[in-house]
Symmetry: D2
């Protein structure tokens, strides 16, 4: 197991959902960078649970304590370690899962992988809670990127069968990205957002859940960053993005829709605009041959409906070797999409900064 | 740049499309494995160009010479190196590209990344031709997996707007996968395949190209292989798959369609079947929490339409700093999807074997 | 910067000497291993300061808190994180060092490397104090190796110009290694040890310091573990061992002395002994071609005299750009050799377990 | 097995001594660097066998063919691959070794590691012949370093019990290093060199061999390059250096001798000299805390006497499970030290360039 990614900037996540704490170690941060610790806290609150009827009622402040890597609020070049203590844990909820694996969860394969020794409480190390330390790392990288003029934002492109408006091809600027992604419900079209929230509540009422699609975007990332083949911008993003629980699909630019087009329609013509080389459209999503093109980086991810649902489901008892119904107790998000938004911004920021530092 | 992937089994690709040769170095192959060299050659022919009116007329035998790592046809534990000499190169075709970048290609970002020193001939190191050494590595890994009872196959799920039948949920066996994936046009539904080929030829006649979707599947991969977070089965596959040129999207199991479902519909119930723990459906595509579930691994990739088209396109002259039309000469595939089938089988085989060896 | 080593078992160290805390994250520990936490504490006390007139009077309990990776005292397969809070810190001692670098320390190159932003207090991340989290990781690995029959011990082979007796070629067993290495002063010949301690105290009285040599040994490590070339047993040990501050030399088996011999004298003849293949001598130190031979692993390291001495030394003022005398305040070990013993056992245990897990 | 090292600049070695060929793949070379291919050939000749009565009579031109990574003689940014065909192979010499392992060689542990499938001919992948591709990589890196003002040289510090003069502390300049290291017998004191050569010939006459010590030096490497703990200048060098067969010891600066000194004698005082921060002595060998100090990098390695000797030795028959005498046939160097000189320069150049590129 290696819960780590990155090459120059290495992010290593530790912790279990209901253990003592969760945290992150970051190797390779540039020294001498002044961090806005309040902005990190604010970013963490965007992911934190218990803030809305749409999310789990578990209460966690998720305020990181910085153990190492800072002198005051300045990076000192040593590995940064940030720690979050777990507080509102109710471990009794989870004991039956050692015998009866939940559909859509890693319980069964983890039992084989870890010979039954894994921490099942709250999903253990597999829990979405582990995206909190990821967001600490991301919040730091977002600040370092912003100083270099690079901005990242994301919106809820779909929940269930309701779609948000697409990202505008023009006017993708810092202000727009900031405004959309920090909304309490991060959509471009608020009427669509209203319907999405109703769909989430309806699912919750039915003891069920819904999934959705998130679209993420980075602007002003310079051209020519990345590598061909296996260490490219897309490869590195893909490896890291599938580390966020519930992500089951990823497409860059026109993605699956683009595979239906002809080359003449999907190719993005080059033009000179104000002395800069750009493309007139962005079907390539800012990546060509593993390298950044200088156009906005745009990708979409498919988020599966939360597998933890209260509704009775079919499973097996591993000890009795028989089929058995399962009702999952515990507190869960009926839709994880809104809280996944900052996670995708985080992972994108980490990968982009890592690639920038590699050049 | 690092044109390498894998952890225990490391695959390192070298070469440029019109250079002296292309090849692969593989570290970490188990010792004492007898290889069927004829089967490797047969696998290579599935990817080789010049075999059909649907592909580039460039003639390359693509028969690997084994420089190291074998004693006779048995792996000796030392790094394996296989080399393919380039033969049918026409480098004069490519000189204008140093000034006028092709839409949909990496020419422009590569010029920045490599300060203009990159080998542009035939796409250089960015060329799809570099999937030939990948296929050597894949052909070897496929044989090692087959000895362990694991089989991989893929089919053309779509070309342009024409869809093949989906993979059957039942009866996914070695014989079926083998039969479909080695067809001269790898579809389940031959009538659909006929239409796809017409669409490809129509695009070619229009000096244009089409893209498509490939679905790949692995069976009998044991449960509990992989890791949570960033070194999981999905993460490793994703990193490697986006190393194949023209791949712009990837989804596991129900993927983007699954994100539209409710949890109760997308979750796969566990059951006991003949004493084995299985799921009654496979929306999770064989992966849960980065670990294999024991169900078939199923994923789909979006292949963009070949960016090299004869049709005149819009570009810029970097030297003259002005917009300019571009007509691309050279020999190109009007649709890369059929030849990408063995590449995806190859990359899947490498990642699966690497993860098996890691346990 | 990457304060991490290992391949399957990855050990990542964080912290600064006078920061909030120091700690370690370990990825890749086998699941289901029961740890003896008291034995870990006992091992930590062997390295801890303030226990003897030979070491710094700084008082640190160095008792690790386990944040993640355990369920009770059993490894759960998730990354293990252990934390030690710093307590007895006196940061005021160190401020002048930002301007006047200490001879024999990394102050000056670190100022260039980190643009002056590094944490200088107590040596920051460069401090020998960072071997405490290394010892946590080592104590765990020693337990896992002991369960597999493999034992590691070390002794003080020399302090200044006084030599201990050499390790016996025969009778290198668990009991012997355990007895020697856990002595309060870890020598085979106690009379020599007495002289060494006098030499240390004499140096301390002179506001000076002494260095020495440590010999480390592992028994029962099976033959055939490791790799040729750059990932071998010697390569991995060497990379990790030079991570312990003050180590300036390393030799395996007969080492430098062996380079003076003829091949016929330095070669170790193979014999069958009780049905096992062994060598009659061990000039090769248990390593041949990067692989373990099945004979005891034996190496020696040179530990430089502690560079921090109270005696006035010559240095420069970086701000005033002039030569200046320097008197170092703070609390320091007049000889680091005794406290380095468990550090070498720790690093050896980590590397051996990592290589065992890789096979 | 991973016959690879480096982080940004990755060097991967392949081949067996008597296989089709040997070679190297280098990822991460800067693009646009013009190489002097004749200088590479000249460097290769310094390592090549068959040039003197002191070395094996095996005749190998060792002229590399560049398969990839160059356009003409300019690096294009793609992985560089260079290949050397093996020519003068006599494989029949080695067959008995599958049963009777040679003392001082990896035959026995390799048989366990590779289940008997390893290529034994000429030592296979364990052969010193694999330093030829290392030297190709090193020759390239030496050129790139020289353009940046950094020069590397080495001399034979000892053969058997005869010592060369030490490196001068002053006047270590490019001209001196170049002159010494390219001598046909690379010593500072030619009278000592004469005695060394007599000792080598005497050993050869006795069907025996001798070892020695090599001292290597790099000048003008800037201060502040490297990392604390496990990715430092010393750690990286150590990992790579022990990849050269027959190296059994390594010490930086005053090394083992320094461990006998007091801190006040071993510390190197800082001074300002011509406006530059330097030390008045160089016991630290140019490395402090894993970082370069700006002073010359100086290290010494212990080279064991060639284990292949014609003299009859004691071994075992693995098949018959009995002790048996062994006479080794084949062609061998009575002393490998002279031919190891360029290998150490090579490995040093690779590590230094890698660290420079990482900053």
């Amino acid at each position: 197991m290696s819960s780590e990614f990155g090459k120059i900037l290495k992010v290593s996540i530790f912790g279990q959902s209901h253990g003592e704490g969760i945290g992150v170690v970051i190797n390779g941060l540039p020294p001498g960078e002044t961090l806005d610790l309040d902005a990190i806290d604010a970013f963490m609150r965007r992911r934190a649970p218990g803030r809305s009827p749409l999310s789990t009622p578990r209460q966690e402040a998720d305020k990181p304590e910085f153990i190492a890597g800072l002198l005051g609020n300045v990076t000192c070049g040593a590995p940064l370690c940030a720690l979050i203590r777990n507080r509102d844990t109710r471990s009794g909820d989870y004991e039956q899962l050692r015998d009866v694996p939940r559909p859509g969860h890693a319980d069964y394969p983890a039992t084989i992988r870890y010979k039954g020794a894994q921490d099942l409480r709250g999903g253990g190390h597999f829990s979405g809670r582990l995206t909190a330390p990821l967001c600490i790392a991301g919040a730091i990288c977002l600040q370092l990127l912003a100083k270099r003029g690079i901005f990242i934002g994301a919106h809820i492109a779909a929940v269930a069968d309701i779609d948000d408006d697409p990202l505008p091809e023009q006017d993708l600027n810092e202000e727009f990205l900031q405004r959309i992604s920090t909304k309490s419900f991060a959509v471009i079209n608020d009427a669509a957002g209203e319907k999405m929230q109703q769909a989430i509540l309806a699912a919750a009422n039915d003891e069920d859940s819904v999934g959705g699609i998130i679209e993420c975007c980075a602007i002003n990332f310079p051209a020519g960053i990345g590598n061909p083949m296996y260490e490219g911008l897309d490869n590195r993003l893909a490896q890291a993005i599938f580390g966020i629980p519930a992500i089951k699909g990823l497409e860059f630019g026109s993605g699956f829709a683009g595979s239906r087009l002809r080359g003449s329609a999907n190719n993005d013509p080059w033009i000179l605009q104000d002395g800069k080389v750009r493309t007139t459209s962005n079907h390539h999503g800012g990546i060509l041959g593993g390298l950044s093109s200088g156009m906005p980086l745009v990708y979409r991810v498919a988020v599966k409906p939360t597998p933890s649902i209260a509704k009775t489901q079919q499973s097996v008892s591993l000890s009795r070797q028989e089929n058995t119904p399962l009702s999952i107790k515990g507190r869960h998000d009926p839709c994880i999409v809104p809280r996944a938004i900052p996670c995708l911004e985080a992972v994108t920021a980490i990968v982009l900064l890592d690639l920038l530092l590699e050049q």
